[in-house]
């Protein structure tokens, strides 16, 4: 390149500048109030939609400047999936990077195009963003009119909204047997899924048992499963079971789930349990309680009973569980199908509880093998967790036929058969299941498996009053998996009668259901009598709900207890009206395992308090 040489001295050269003299000057006066509008994406001051904000605090975690603190606002309620905290931003720290906006789980935090804020008082620089923006004070724009600047889009989003896919058996394979469907995460998958968690802790509040969910997920993320196990056993001795079949209310509250798929909390819990060898439990958890010399009797070895037994044992009580069936576990052993919860999983959890010194007396039905009074005499306190063992019937004509069955006994029969304890259950070629809950799904899918094993094809019709899958109380995954396995659903039909010819079930007739609940959300179905269908079947199974059985309780105790719609009324520590008698599980709260575990936990605390004060 030729270097620029100094031009020859030219008298007129400086006059070149004069050409700008003719140009029109561009001078814009600085407006007084609203400054020049910033660009569409400008990262100005924050606004926060308080209605949308759930107080998860993810913004404060990502903040590279530690500018955001979460402050509890009196008057905001702590609710399912919501915390009463709202972010406070320190403009003495903020670097306007908008990472808080990009990671906001709900999208409530956004930035405006506002950028002028001048004051002599440093106190003016701390600010809790609301819908109005910082200008609400200066009154520059009309209230709430500060135009939006930087908002999140799918490129700038730094939250991970997509779940790590759980490896599952293919429908064609799994329907042929009762092998477990969910294979469980590998180490890599679990760590990836754990990385999606933002550790907000909203789930902890929602979990009936208040498990330390963010903590054990973080343990997985760090690869320290022993620590994770300790977190699990702090609140839940049935982690193996819960890791498989919990109703995971936590996942419905998960803040990542507001815009995307929630973190797979249940599968992560299962991952810890699956990957810590059972032999190590004793060393890791290291439970060495001091014996208190008092004994507790527990009736029923379901989730609530086992949980109470575990916590009482860790406190140093002698615990005896009375179980009517041949094996402990209650609904976990006899209700939930084997493809969801294999026996081995349950055995592990129970074995650990037994290892703490809990005695489980099986085949001991209270009221038959042993009297309730005897138990009451033997122990310092008694905990009832007998669950809902009786099935409810639709009571339409024909339900008294032997081939019209209840779901729970059928499930029990199937499980007994599968582990070789009992005879083979009758397998119909065509089956109708009435009900739309999880039990209906369980029995439909169990029977579908038996049908495939027996006849090579599935013919199960599941009818429910609820008119859509969303309305049905069953979990969506359950419904989807059942569909994949060939179960036919007919939502929105109510039974009229079971058609019986020659003393044999031929099928059932149904009428269209118009609504299930009335305006007050009370159960009050309405039907269109003219719109009817008939479905052929050799067998009908009713799965519309369960009921408790209190026949084992002596009359005088039953009289003293208070019942609310079939459930025993207790105080906050699960203590009944009789001070030495505690109750929990389905007979108090329902409707799932985690509530049972929670009841066991609170009852154990209650019993401890009662006995310490006595």
């Amino acid at each position: 390149m030729a270097m620029q040489e100094l031009p020859k001295k030219d008298f007129f050269a400086p006059l070149k500048a004069w050409k700008f003299l003719g140009k029109k000057p561009v001078t814009i006066e600085v407006p007084n109030k609203v400054k020049r509008e910033a660009s569409d994406r400008y990262r100005g001051f924050h606004i926060n939609d308080w209605e949308k904000c759930i107080g998860c605090g993810t913004c404060s975690k990502i903040c590279p400047t530690d500018a955001i603190t979460m402050v509890e606002v009196p008057g905001l309620v702590r609710d399912h999936g919501k915390m009463p905290q709202r972010p406070v931003i320190d403009y003495g720290r903020c670097s306007f990077c908008a990472l808080c906006v990009d990671i906001c789980t709900t999208g409530s935090l956004q930035m405006t195009r506002e950028y002028v804020h001048v004051s002599e008082d440093a106190e003016d620089y701390i600010y809790m963003p609301t819908e109005k923006g910082l200008d609400a004070k200066r009154g520059v724009y009309e209230h709430g009119k500060a135009p939006l600047g930087w908002v999140k889009d799918e490129n700038s989003d730094i939250l991970d909204l997509v779940r790590v896919k759980m490896p599952m058996e293919e429908p064609e394979v799994r329907v042929k047997s009762f092998i477990e469907i969910v294979k469980g995460y590998s180490k890599e998958q679990a760590e990836q899924e754990a990385a999606r968690c933002v550790a907000c802790g909203i789930c902890t509040y929602t979990c009936p048992e208040h498990m330390d969910i963010p903590q054990y997920i973080e343990s997985i993320y760090k690869g320290d499963l022993e620590e994770g196990l300790r977190w699990l056993y702090r609140t839940n001795p049935l982690s193996m079971v819960c890791g498989r079949v919990c109703t995971h209310r936590c996942e419905t509250a998960c803040s990542v789930g507001v815009r995307g798929e929630p973190v797979a909390i249940r599968w992560l819990k299962r991952y810890i349990i699956d990957n810590v060898p059972f032999e190590e439990y004793d060393r890791i958890l290291n439970i060495r309680p001091e014996k208190k010399g008092k004994s507790i009797g527990i009736v029923g070895s379901g989730p609530a009973g086992l949980s109470a037994a575990y916590f009482l044992a860790t406190m140093g009580y002698d615990v005896t569980i009375y179980e009517a069936n041949a094996r402990p576990g209650g609904v976990m052993r006899y209700g939930i199908p084997r493809y969801r919860l294999p026996d081995e999983a349950l055995d592990k959890d129970i074995a650990f509880i037994e290892a703490l010194g809990v005695k489980i007396l099986v085949n001991t039905k209270v009221g038959q093998e042993i009297n309730f009074d005897e138990i009451a005499k033997k122990h310092d306190a008694v905990f009832l967790s007998t669950g809902f063992g009786l099935g409810r019937s639709t009571r339409v004509p024909g339900t008294d036929h032997p081939n019209v069955k209840q779901a729970l006994p059928m499930l029990k029969m199937i499980r007994d058969y599968l582990r070789g304890d009992g005879p083979k259950p009758p397998v119909p070629r065509k089956l109708i299941v009435i009900g739309g809950g999880n039990v209906a799904m369980d029995i439909s899918r169990s029977m579908a498996r038996l049908q495939t094993m027996e006849y090579g094809e599935v013919n199960v019709h599941t009818l429910s009053l609820e008119r859509s899958f969303e309305e049905m109380p069953a979990d969506m995954d359950e419904i989807e998996e059942a569909l994949e396995e060939g179960v036919e659903f007919h939502p929105g039909w109510g039974p009229i009668e079971i058609v019986i010819e020659n003393d044999e079930v031929k099928g059932a007739r149904f009428k269209k259901c118009l609504r299930v609940f009335d305006e007050n959300h009370r159960f009050s179905p309405q039907f269109d009598e003219n719109n009817q269908i008939f479905i052929e079947a050799d067998m009908v199974i009713e799965a519309i709900g369960q009921a408790p059985d209190y026949s084992y309780l002596p009359q005088e105790i039953q009289e003293k207890l208070e019942f609310v719609r079939g459930r025993i009324k207790t105080n906050e520590y699960n203590q009944t009206a009789i001070e030495w008698l505690f109750a929990g599980g389905d007979i108090v709260h329902g409707p799932d395992i985690i509530h049972g575990v929670a009841d066991g936990y609170t009852a154990a605390k209650g019993i401890d308090m009662y006995l310490s004060n006595k």
Binding site: W50, E123, D124, Y127, T130, E131
Partner: protein, 174 residues
């Protein structure tokens, strides 16, 4: 690895290096401390004459400091990351200021931030910090937040932000 870099790597074989390929034009060479100068000289003679960066990594768990020299060749665009590990408790190394005069300043910087002594470089005055009164700040066991708290107080806000926010939202009158 590019063929031209491959040739250079072959010429280093005598130094018993551990070679890692980071990408096509970037190779990490790990050698023992006593061979570093020779390796650097060989690389410089082979065209890798531009010292891009000289730095240090504190591997506190191994109780070692890793010295890193990044050499770049203007001829083929290849980069050599020459690395060696020295004892963290007694970090001593040799200067390379004869090879690259600018290294004097890098060495001063590393002395200041990691506490590494470079034999042969007598100019070890602090470069960036003034009146530093703590352990070398870039070592892993130094916590800058603690230091900052101790020496530079934060502001403690006293304003009732909740009240202000509620006034903004129109929930209460201010």
């Amino acid at each position: 690895m590019m063929s031209s870099m491959n040739d250079v790597v072959k010429s280093l074989e005598g130094f018993n290096p551990f070679i890692e390929e980071i990408d096509e034009r970037e190779v990490k060479v790990t050698v023992s401390p006593d061979r570093v100068i020779a390796v650097l000289e060989t690389l410089k003679a082979n065209g890798y004459s531009h010292l891009s960066l000289m730095t240090c990594v504190d591997w506190i768990d191994d109780n070692q400091l890793e010295l890193v020299y990044i050499l770049f060749s203007w001829k083929d665009g290849g980069k050599f990351i020459v690395s060696t590990r020295i004892d963290r408790n007694n970090p001593k190394f040799f200067t390379v200021k004869e090879l690259w005069p600018v290294a004097r300043f890098y060495e001063r910087e590393l002395h200041e931030f990691f506490g590494v002594e470079f034999e042969g470089n007598d100019d070890m005055r602090p470069l960036f910090l003034e009146l530093w009164d703590e352990k070398p700040p870039l070592r892993k066991d130094f916590d800058p937040r603690d230091y900052s708290r101790k020496k530079f107080p934060d502001r403690k806000y006293e304003k009732d932000v909740i009240k202000e926010a509620k006034i903004f939202r129109g929930e209460i009158n201010g």
